[in-house]
């Protein structure tokens, strides 16, 4: 114990390694701690159904859900639905992000544009997006276009607000550093404004993506012949709760994965952040 302590103080490299190791094992134990409750509940329910306390027809036990998932995957049905849903979210997210970034940048950068655009956009934002569905169906038909439009609308607002707010709150003092070094307009945007708004932009992308997943369910519930939302409706109409839960689980997995992709892809660009949690979470 004491000799281990000695080497740690003497050799900074091994001390750092030990620290990384400690951080890693702490992360694992924290993940395990978070898993305890859901796993315990699942096991309890599985046991209750097998022991005959419940027939498990309305709330299927984990093994039935798993079998349903495996069956859906093996028949290839699952992939058809996943592909359809992911394609819709991707298209709607892309459109919403492009439009939100563009309008957010314009409103954030120019006071005149903000006074011109922002009141209208804020008024539109106040409309629950689902309320657009009938209109979108009239305009764009019942197929992909109306669904993608709905998702894009959902993604647009958090991105728009995030970009506008981020640009407006860029520190004037830091912009002045750019002026002192005589940066041109485009260089000022690239070397000062973009890096300054990046953290807030990533946050707005992530909340936009969350809304995108929410709206794809709404769009698919309202009429689709494929997609995870269709699996939900199909499971309801045919009385297959396991299929509903299987679709929900798939949503959760894909939603979390796409969010993780954004977070992981942006992490190398945000290492500089002076965050409250930066140290406790480790590198």
């Amino acid at each position: 114990m004491s000799s281990a302590h000695m080497t740690m103080t003497l050799d900074p490299a091994s001390a750092a390694a030990a620290r990384t190791k400690a951080v890693r094992s702490w992360r694992w134990s924290r993940a395990l701690l978070g898993l305890m409750l859901p796993v315990a509940l699942a096991l309890l329910w599985e046991f209750a159904v097998r022991a005959g306390f419940s027939n498990g027809r309305l709330v299927p036990p984990p093994s039935v859900i798993w079998n349903t998932l495996v069956e859906l995957a093996r028949s290839g049905e699952l992939w058809v639905h996943v592909r359809a849903t992911v394609a819709r979210v991707a298209a709607g997210f892309a459109l919403g992000v492009v439009a939100g970034t563009l309008f957010g940048a314009i409103s954030g950068y120019s006071v005149l544009s903000r006074r011109l655009l922002d009141p209208t956009l804020q008024a539109l934002r106040a409309i629950p997006s689902i309320a657009w569905v009938p209109l979108f169906i009239l305009w764009f038909g019942i197929f992909e276009q109306s669904k993608i439009t709905l998702i894009a609308v959902g993604v647009f607002f958090p991105v728009y607000l995030g970009v506008m707010g981020a640009i407006m709150s860029v520190d004037r003092k830091i912009v002045e550093v750019g002026r002192v070094f005589r940066l041109s307009g485009p260089a000022l945007v690239r070397r000062i404004l973009l890096p300054a708004v990046l953290p807030a932009y990533i946050v707005s992308l992530r909340s936009g993506l969350g809304l995108g997943w929410m709206f794809v369910v709404a769009a698919e519930l309202l009429g689709a012949s494929e997609g995870l939302g269709f699996l939900l409706i199909d499971g309801q109409q045919l009385g297959k709760p396991a299929q509903i839960v299987a679709a929900i689980v798939t949503f959760a997995v894909i939603g979390k994965t796409t969010d993780w992709i954004i977070a992981a892809a942006s992490a190398p660009f945000l290492r500089w952040e002076d965050r409250f949690s930066a140290r406790s979470e480790g590198a």
Binding site: K173, E176, R179, A196, W272
Partner: protein
């Protein structure tokens, strides 16, 4: 040579921040501007930097009128204003983008060595202490070899020890650079003025204008305890008081000068 001719600044709300300021600063000279709050000293520095333009008169460097930030004029603000997403080395090299990567690296390494922060090159600004961050800011301003370096209360946010340390450090940088840059320092710290200055300009408020010029031609390095140093300080303090119509004579200042009036607000 840096010259100010009848420089005045009136803000859009008709507040006259600066009136009829004329000055010339010789190449390599250290000019310190002192004055209470609202005497326009920061406004004056911003006009010289080209960040703001004067409403009247003009600022010239070697006969060229300054209307925008100029490559021969560097500035250090009260806050370090480092870009948090760049490493220390990239911050120092921020103004060298026109150079090749290898030349930039060389200049940055040299500048960091001069401010004694070579080991911090790859560190993020958030990991620096206040004094280290301000040294990086000085390195960033000096690395393009400006003819004139403006410093706007550069050490006022630091503790007394770090402040004295950085004053000495600034002087040694200034002495080592060839050609010697002109320094224009704005401060409200009389000690700082007496340590740094070849010449001290005392300003008075409402509107901001020059009240008195005081030569501080003591030999360097200066002993902060010496009688000559103390004399310069007292002259500055007395001028400051007179500029506010307080009418205190130099001799009456004895007690105050010794009991912590070094920081003059």
């Amino acid at each position: 040579m840096l010259t100010l001719e009848h420089v005045g600044k009136t803000y859009p709300n008709n507040v006259r921040a600066l009136e009829n300021v004329s000055l010339s600063v010789m190449p390599g000279e250290i000019l310190v501007i002192v004055g209470g709050s609202g005497c326009g000293k920061s406004t004056l520095l911003r006009a010289v930097s080209g960040l703001d333009n004067p409403s009247q008169g003009r600022v010239q460097l070697d006969g060229v009128t300054i209307t925008a930030p100029h490559e021969k004029i560097g500035i250090v603000f009260q806050e370090p204003r480092l870009l948090p997403w760049l490493t220390v080395a990239d911050n120092v090299g921020f103004g060298l983008h026109h150079l090749s990567a290898s030349e930039r690296r060389q200049r940055v390494a040299h500048a960091l060595e001069r401010v004694g922060l070579s080991d911090k090159a790859k560190v993020w600004p958030r990991e620096l202490s206040g004094g280290q961050a301000q040294r990086v800011a000085i390195a960033r301003a000096l690395v393009p070899n400006p003819e004139v370096l403006l410093l706007d209360e550069p050490f006022s946010a630091l503790d007394a020890f770090t402040r004295a340390d950085l004053q000495d450090h600034l002087l040694s940088l200034w002495a080592d650079l060839k050609p010697t840059p002109t320094l224009v320092v704005v401060t409200h710290d009389v000690d700082e003025a007496a340590v740094l200055a070849d010449r001290i300009v005392v300003m008075r408020p409402h509107p901001g204008r020059i009240y008195e010029e005081i030569a501080a031609d003591l030999p360097r390095p200066r002993d902060r305890q010496s009688a000559a140093f103390d004399f310069v300080k007292r002259r500055v303090l007395a001028a400051l008081d007179r500029s506010l119509d307080r009418n205190v004579s130099v001799d009456d200042r004895d007690t105050k000068a010794e009991t912590g009036a070094a920081m003059w607000w």
